[in-house]
């Protein structure tokens, strides 16, 4: 015992390694193993139910890029990235600031719970509910509009030109509460509170305080929020699957849905793996700034 007590920090005995390190190593090897396996499959010639590991170079990547669906996917995924993230973050900033300013604690508690409950729900449930809200002839929103005398008959997700925007709106609805609590908690550092108090004494307006003092000081929190939302919109699958299944036609198709259909419906496994790799590389690039920031914090 005495010997063990004096051992160098960071050194583990054989049993300790087995307990603390072995599970981690096991899961990491499996995860990275499957990742490499997928990358390898994307360069093979596997296009039926039966596995075929013969290398085919970039054949299936070329195939993917030539499909009209691919261009639609890229445009739609870009729409998701931009419209799913920036409106959400902007509204979340104002709403979080608003909640901080509210003189009624009960109002704050109520709104927080109200907008946060969708976090507990799946996109499948949310999508089912919103399909009914969006239903063109009998749905909730058009019925409500008719009640107040507007016979707009909005087509929602049945119109190929605007369907993706209505899907993105569901995403914003679901993620607003999540975004607000992240922004709110990054407001609540003592340094920032002191800066704000000082600015109030100086007679700065509330909007000026938000833009000149608060926003520059919560860059870390915003970076995290933006990165998380970017990743979620890049991988978006459930909402599209349940509400439109990529339709009308291929108007709302996205990379993740294309990947699933290509792999599991058409059994073009190498092409599906290629799409998986494309999604992985994009998400990897998107989170680089965040990852660097998180590593710095961890090793502080």
């Amino acid at each position: 015992m005495a010997k063990r007590r004096r051992r160098h920090r960071g050194e583990l005995t054989w049993t300790e390694n087995l307990v603390f390190l072995a599970p981690l190593l096991f899961f990491l090897i499996l995860l990275y193993g499957t990742l490499l396996w997928t990358i390898y499959v994307s360069f093979t010639d596997w296009s039926t139910m039966a596995p075929n590991y013969q290398l085919a170079g970039l054949k299936w990547y070329r195939f993917l890029v030539q499909q009209p669906k691919f261009k639609v996917d890229i445009i739609n995924n870009l729409k998701w990235l931009i419209l799913g993230v920036f409106p959400t973050v902007t509204v979340a900033i104002f709403l979080a600031y608003f909640l901080e300013l509210t003189p009624f604690p009960k109002v704050e508690a109520y709104i927080r719970t109200l907008i946060l409950y969708p976090v507990a729900m799946s996109f499948i449930v949310t999508g089912t509910i919103w399909s009914w809200m969006y239903e063109p002839s009998r749905g909730v929103i058009n019925t409500l509009l008719r009640l107040v005398g507007i016979d707009a008959n909005l087509p929602f997700t049945t119109d190929p030109d605007t369907a993706t925007y209505w899907l993105i709106l569901i995403f914003i609805w679901q993620y607003l509460g999540f975004s607000v609590i992240i922004v709110q908690s990054s407001f609540r550092t003592t340094e920032l509170q002191e800066l704000v108090e000082a600015a109030i004494v100086d007679g700065a307006s509330r909007l000026r305080i938000l833009f000149a003092i608060i926003l520059p000081n919560i860059r870390g929190g915003l970076l995290i929020l933006v990165s998380l939302l970017l990743i979620s919109t890049l991988k978006v699958f459930d909402i599209v699957f349940i509400v439109t299944y990529g339709g009308p036609g291929i108007a709302t198709d996205v990379l993740a849905l294309n990947m699933w259909i290509t792999t599991f419906q058409q059994h073009l496994v190498s092409a599906g793996a290629g799409l998986g790799v494309i999604i992985f590389i994009s998400s990897f690039i998107l989170v680089i700034p965040y990852t660097i920031y998180a590593f710095r914090k961890w090793f502080e």
Partner: protein, 281 residues
């Protein structure tokens, strides 16, 4: 930062009305529609609550019927088995890994941490093909073990980082005192670190549970008929019973009930878990 002027009050009222409408309407619609008869959902009467609540809708959804074949009772069982098992295993192994990552500072552990950090955001699309091959080859896909195992490896990075972050905040003196008393690291972990981290474990468990319960892509791709989860069967019901919105809403209510109960009664841990996952990870 507090304000009480008249315009402020009007603004508060406005925000309250808009948000209440946007966030209560979908829930309201889900609940009232779930209790309607099929006749009511197909002709008029979309927004008012029904006079005769059809409680039998829930029985029909749970146990299936001629027109609603996607009975949910067994799927509910599947989701419960899978989500609880993954949560327990993930918390246990995640705790061990998190302890390793937070206490050992060598070059090797740094490399491991970076690998874990990258794996945090691994899209499921890039692991699904090998996983489905493994499931088919090993026969695991036919039982719950297949999905449990897949979710376990995919959620391990998150559980490790979350718990590791919590462990970093524990004062080191506690462990040093136990070390002076001659306790081994394993004893220290199980007798000192774990007991005082129970709130952390609760937060992580709720986050993992909700994530697995609500997950769709993996469940859709890997589950066999016998292991289908609630989310998959809901998607199936929506595809095959397009007009039966009342039954779909009843199914949706059943599917959200468990995570929503967690959210309502354990909201504190829920929020702490979200914040830890987002801000420190």
């Amino acid at each position: 930062m507090k304000t009480k002027s008249r315009t402020a009050k009007i603004l508060i009222g406005l925000v309250l009305v808009v948000l209440s409408f946007a966030y209560l309407l979908p829930i309201y619609v889900m609940v009232i529609t779930a209790l309607k008869s099929t006749q009511e959902v197909s002709q008029g009467q979309y927004l008012l609550p029904t006079g005769q609540p059809q409680w039998s809708n829930f029985a029909e959804v749970l146990f299936g019927s001629q027109r609603f074949r996607s009975e949910m009772a067994t799927r509910l069982g599947n989701s419960i088995i899978i989500s609880f098992s993954v949560t327990a295993l993930c918390a246990f192994f995640g705790g061990l890994s998190g302890y390793y990552l937070s206490r050992i500072r060598t070059r090797f552990s740094t490399v491991l941490f970076i690998l874990v950090g990258i794996a945090l955001y691994l899209p499921y699309q890039v692991v699904i093909i090998p996983l489905s091959i493994l499931m088919a080859k090993t026969g695991l896909g036919q039982s719950h073990a297949g999905l449990i195992f897949s979710y376990l490896i995919l959620n391990m990075p998150l559980a490790s980082v979350l718990l590791g972050t919590f462990f970093l905040a524990i004062p080191r003196e506690l462990e040093e005192a136990a070390e002076v008393d001659g306790a081994s690291r394993i004893q220290i972990f199980f007798q000192v670190v774990m007991p005082i981290s129970l709130p952390a474990y609760a937060s992580v468990a709720i986050i993992i549970f909700t994530q697995v319960w609500n997950e769709f892509f993996l469940a859709l791709s890997l589950a066999s008929r016998k292991t289908q989860t609630v989310q998959v069967v809901m998607a199936e019901a929506k595809g095959t019973t397009l007009v039966l919105y009342n039954l779909q809403m009843a199914a949706a209510l059943i599917a959200v009930s468990i995570p929503l109960l967690f959210f309502l009664f354990l909201g504190r841990y829920f929020i702490r878990g979200i914040l830890a996952g987002a801000l420190k990870g």
